[in-house]
C-alpha cells in the first residue's frame, strides 16, 4: 500500500469510542494497522498525535495530521471511503443526516457520561444516580429507535448507520454492567426493540469481532478499581 494510503488507529481495547472507529473502518473494508496504547500510561505517540485531549481513538491516514474524536473520525471515514461500494454510514438526505447526528450526540451527552461513572466510580451515591440516568437515556433511545428504524432492524434501516455505531459500541459495557450490578439496562419489557436491535448489531460482520467480551470488561473494571489513582475525568476516553 502506498504510504499516503496507510491507515493507522491508536486505541485501547476497552474503549467504546475506539470500537466505533474500528466498526466504521470494517464497514468500508479498509485495511488498517491497530496501535494499542495503555490507558494508565499514555504513550508519547498518543500525546504527540492528540495533544488537545490526549485520548484515543486517533486515526492517522497517510501523511495527514491525525483525526481525533470518535464521531468526527467516523464521519471522516464515511466521506473518504464514500465510493467503496459499501453502504453509507451517514444518511444521504440532509434531514435524516441531522437526525442521525442528533441521536449520536445524544448517546455521547446522555448515556456515555453515566457509563463512565459506572466504570470508574466507587462512590455509591454517584453510581445510583448514574444508573437512574442511564435507564432514562435508554428509554429515550427506545423511542428514537422506533422512529428511526421504521420497522426495520437498525437505526439505519436495513444496514447500520451512524447511530447504530454510536450506541452499539457501548453494548459490551452495558452487558458488563448487567453482570456487575445484576440489573438489565436493556430490558425485554421496557426496551424490547433495543433488545432485538442489540442482537442484530452484535452479529453484524463489521462489529462482531470488534466488541470485546463483557466478561473481559468486568475483569478490566476490577483492575481499574484497584489501580484507581486516576480521576473519573482523566480516565475518560472519547
Amino acid at each position: 500500500m502506498a504510504k499516503e494510503d496507510e491507515v493507522k488507529l491508536i486505541g485501547v481495547w476497552p474503549s467504546p469510542y475506539v470500537a466505533r472507529a474500528m466498526i466504521a473502518l470494517n464497514l468500508k473494508g479498509v485495511e488498517y494497522e491497530y496501535i494499542p496504547d495503555d490507558l494508565f500510561n499514555k504513550s508519547e505517540l498518543l500525546l504527540k498525535f492528540n495533544p488537545v485531549y490526549k485520548l484515543v481513538p486517533v486515526l492517522i491516514h497517510g501523511d495527514k495530521l491525525p483525526v481525533c474524536e470518535s464521531r468526527i473520525i467516523v464521519e471522516y471515514i464515511d466521506e473518504v471511503w464514500a465510493s467503496s461500494g459499501r453502504p453509507s454510514i451517514l444518511p444521504a438526505d440532509p434531514y435524516d443526516r441531522a437526525t442521525a447526528r442528533f441521536w449520536a450526540a445524544y448517546v455521547d451527552d446522555k448515556l456515555a457520561p453515566h457509563c463512565r461513572v459506572l466504570v470508574w466510580s466507587n462512590d455509591e451515591k454517584s453510581i445510583a444516580e448514574a444508573k437512574e440516568q442511564l435507564l432514562a437515556a435508554v428509554l429515550q433511545l427506545e423511542e428514537a429507535f422506533i422512529e428511526c428504524s421504521k420497522g426495520k432492524s437498525f437505526f439505519g434501516g436495513d444496514t447500520i448507520n451512524f447511530v447504530d455505531i454510536a450506541l452499539g459500541s457501548f453494548l459490551s459495557w452495558m452487558k458488563a454492567f448487567e453482570i456487575i450490578m445484576g440489573k438489565n439496562f436493556l430490558d425485554k419489557t421496557k426496551t424490547p426493540r433495543l433488545v432485538e436491535w442489540a442482537e442484530c448489531f452484535r452479529s453484524v460482520d463489521a462489529a462482531k469481532d470488534v466488541l470485546p467480551e463483557a466478561e473481559k470488561l468486568v475483569e478490566f473494571r476490577k483492575f481499574a478499581m484497584a489501580a484507581r489513582r486516576v480521576t473519573v475525568a482523566d480516565a475518560a476516553t472519547k
Binding site: K64, V67, I73, E75, F102
Partner: protein
Amino acid sequence: MASEKEVKLLDFWLSPFGVRTRIALEEKEVEYEYKEEKNLILGEKSELLLKSNPVHKKIPVLIHHGKPICESLIIVQYIDEVFPSKTPILPSDPYARALSRFWADFVDKKISQYALRIWRLKKGEELDETKKELVENLRMLEAELGEKKYFGGEDFGLADIAFVPFTSWFYSLQAFALLSVEEEFPKLTAWGNRCLERKSVAKSLPEPKKVYELLSARRKELGVE
C-alpha cells in the same frame, strides 16, 4: 391568506448557540422567521419549543418545512447542506472538514461551559479554577488560529461560526472575571474583528454591552454581587 414562512428559528437573543444558527442563515441569505423565546430567562418555554425539541427543550431549533432540527452545530451543518451558496460553511475536502468539526466541537467541550458559567460565580476558588480552565483553552484556540485569517484558513467556516458568538461575552469576562481577551489573546481579538466585518456576523452578534447589562442584573438577583 397568510403563508407560513418555510424557515423558522426558535431562539433567544443572548444565546451563543442561537447566534451560530443566525450567522449560518445570514451567510446563505435565507429568509426566515425569527421567533424569540421571550421568557426563557424566567425558565418559561413556549408550546412550540416544547413540541419541537421534546428531548432537550432548548433553543435554537430550526423548523424547516415544519420539521424541527436541534443542536446548533447540527443545525449549521444542515443549513450548509440544504442551502447551497458560493460560500460553503464546511470545505469539500474530508480532512479539512474533520478539522473544522474538531475545533467547532472543541468550543462546545472546552469553552462554552466555562465562558457561560463564569459570570455567575462569586470571588473565590471556583471562579479562579473556571478562569484558569478558560484561559488554558483559549490559549489552545489562539495557537490553532495562528496567523490564519480564519480557523479554516482563507474561508470563514464552521469553527469560526462556533466560536465567534462568544466574542460578545468578552466584555463581561473582563468585567466579572478580570479576564482581558484583548490583552492576553491578540490573535483571537484580531480574528474577532475580522469576523465582525462580515455582514452575517455583524447582524447576528448581540451587543457586548447588552450582554453585560443582562448578566449584571442577573448577578444582582442571584446575590453574586
